[in-house]
């Protein structure tokens, strides 16, 4: 079926494995476009400007925001995050799907702006793995990790506002990628994605 692309939002607590899962999914779907967020936080080792995030100074961020350049913005652990508006709007209009992986607050803000967006909540099969993964990352202080774990529990309170829950199993990481893959494929077939015109064309063929 033709028509605008779909917006897939993969979210969940820090340490749930969003980065890995979305990276794997992008390898499978060449036609899916990744929406890069902007942030004022410092890059982690290996992160690239324009690939992982647009790393902006606070004044750059505020100027873009004043020009209505963000779909939504939010503050998280003292840093600003935002979703550039024009990329998503133009890419969907061209018929490409877009995937993004904002924090939970950001996902809900995106849903408010794009009610058709598909929201997927990612959790590890054991909550205790969150701490282990954050510690293994070695980019946060113990206090930051404690704050992120507290945030994680707060984030789960919003889980019912998501469309799907996918469990990222520590022992079988490929499963979560397959699950997301199935969700992407299935969502294209939901009846409300079809216009009356598209159904009529099919019926008259």
């Amino acid at each position: 079926m033709a028509g605008p692309g779909l917006l897939f939002v993969v979210s969940g607590p820090s340490g749930a494995g969003k980065d890995t899962v979305v990276a794997e999914l992008r390898k499978r779907y060449e036609r899916i476009r990744y929406s890069v967020s902007a942030t004022t936080r410092e890059p982690r080792p290996g992160e690239e400007h324009g690939q992982d995030y647009f790393f902006l100074t606070r004044s750059e961020f505020e100027a873009k925001n004043a020009a209505d350049g963000f779909l939504e913005t939010r503050s998280y652990n003292g840093n600003l995050y935002g979703t550039p508006r024009s990329f998503i709007e133009e890419t969907l209009a061209q018929g490409y799907d877009v995937i993004m992986k904002p924090e939970v607050n950001g996902a809900l803000a995106v849903k408010a702006a794009f009610p058709d967006a598909v929201l997927i909540f990612l959790l590890p099969d054991k909550f205790s793995y969150l701490r282990a993964r954050l510690e293994a990352r070695r980019t946060e202080t113990p206090a930051e990790i404690a704050a992120r774990l507290e945030t994680a529990h707060e984030e789960v309170q919003y889980i019912r506002r998501f469309d799907y829950l996918v469990v990222n199993e520590e022992a079988q990481p490929q499963q979560a990628v397959d699950d997301l893959d199935a969700i992407l494929r299935a969502e294209r077939h939901r009846i409300y994605r079809w216009t009356d015109q598209a159904i009529r064309t099919l019926e008259e063929s």
Copy 2:
């Protein structure tokens, strides 16, 4: 996630390819159980009692119906059709998924009885293929084929009461099976399939 199984209902006009697609899907999922319908119509060549349908006489059908043995019944082209109730209820309670392929009226009746059922409408990529497939089947008279095609157009009027539309492409029949496969997998992850208790258990692990 544990819990009761899911009920998948694949429907659509005669000649859309329900039989082939569902048969392929059952090969992939050994754990899915097939709900065999009952009917008073004559078996087509190759159809087996208990496999394709329970072929009942009209009086047998009516006795079972009087004993509340059907989830729903309907009349179609002068024959009675019914969905045996106990098989579905028991199989879902055991945690197995159930798949069935009733006519469109039957699908809507099942949805009324099981609001959680997932309804999938199957259409060929060209409506004109319906006639070609019915003719190739050589089991209906020209008058019966004309009646079925008229019924097909009436059935499409109910398409918005379904959850998904899958197009069964003549040139790529495997695509529709892959689509159904994705829908089955994705539906297990829909947030309302998760109980609060299941999410709490995950969060406390």
